[in-house]
């Protein structure tokens, strides 16, 4: 009897493998867990896009929940993302931009052309803050709660269909 059952073993191994491989087909290969989730927004001292003489740091993100969007004028999908960011700002979300590896005049020109959803833009020409945030694909969006803790991260551009998804996260961590 046991010998008979042993004959079934290769079949069971096959079924197990097939299950995991089939499941693997539906996983998103570009999905990454966010290393910063649940951690404090990294500290920084930078100027703003609007004012070269200004000095802002992580205390900017304290006291109020904000959606921090990393963007650049050289990033084509950032242009497509702007209407969604404007929609989020109209729905009452405080938007903070990080102008990543960009030039001041190009960044300003971009905002003139595509809209200004941001209350303030942190100017990060060397990409140092972006590196601390683990930015690898602009645009990226971080939800930072009132205590300065990163709660949610969205890599890539927010599609019109994803605005509600982001809004749900905003309400969840309010």
């Amino acid at each position: 009897m046991i010998r008979r059952l042993l004959l079934l073993l290769p079949f069971l191994v096959f079924v197990g493998l097939a299950f995991f491989l089939y499941r693997g087909l539906s996983l998103d290969p570009s999905a990454r867990e966010s290393a910063l989730r649940g951690q404090a927004f990294p500290s920084f001292t930078l100027s703003t896009l609007e004012d070269p003489g200004a000095e802002v740091d992580e205390s900017l993100l304290r006291g109020r929940m904000s959606l921090v969007n990393v963007w650049a004028s050289w990033c084509p999908t950032c242009k497509e993302e702007m209407p969604q960011l404007l929609a989020l700002s109209e729905r009452g979300v405080q938007m903070v931009g990080i102008n990543y590896k960009d030039a001041r005049d190009l960044g300003r020109q971009f905002l003139e052309e595509f809209g200004k959803p941001f209350e303030v833009n942190i100017f990060d020409p060397a990409g140092d803050l972006g590196f601390e945030l683990g930015v690898y694909g602009v645009p990226e969006t971080f939800l930072v709660d009132a205590n300065g803790i990163v709660r949610y991260k969205h890599v890539g551009y927010i599609t019109p269909a994803q605005v509600d998804e982001v809004m749900a996260e905003v309400e969840k961590w309010h």
């Binding site: 570009s30 990454r32 290393a35 590896k101 601390e132 694909g137």
Partner: protein
Amino acid sequence: MALTLKSRCCVVIVLLLASFQSMADTAIDARHFEDPVMAERYRDLTASLRCPKCDAQAIDSSNSPVAADMRERVALMLHEGRADKEILDFMANRFGEFVLYNPRLDGRTWLLWALPAALVVGGGLVVIAFVQARRHRRVRPLSEEERTRLSSLIHRHRERSE
């Protein structure tokens, strides 16, 4: 020396391929370390860190901007005298566990590390069980009748071959 057309073509193709290869090599920034040990560590570290933007490429061979930033930071941290583990943790804390080609041992990855060892141990046990079973297999002695039949057969065989 006269070359046939075919072998000339081959030479041209090989030279073309070689030049592409060198183009690909020079695309990645070369870094110079005074200390050969540090240069070796740099090579190992950049080969074991995975580029977050690319799916299956280490940062040492990727042209993606984030890979260049990471290489630069690895070199900087080496010059600062940081340990390899510190550098790997630093990267994993920012870009996630994904960037480590050698994942750390934790709640999610223990199976990954334990499975090969478990398979070796399990396979060993199966082999031992087999060997033991063979060794202890009972051998039934021949009966008197079988014994006489066997000796007569051997006898007959000998006679015939002589």
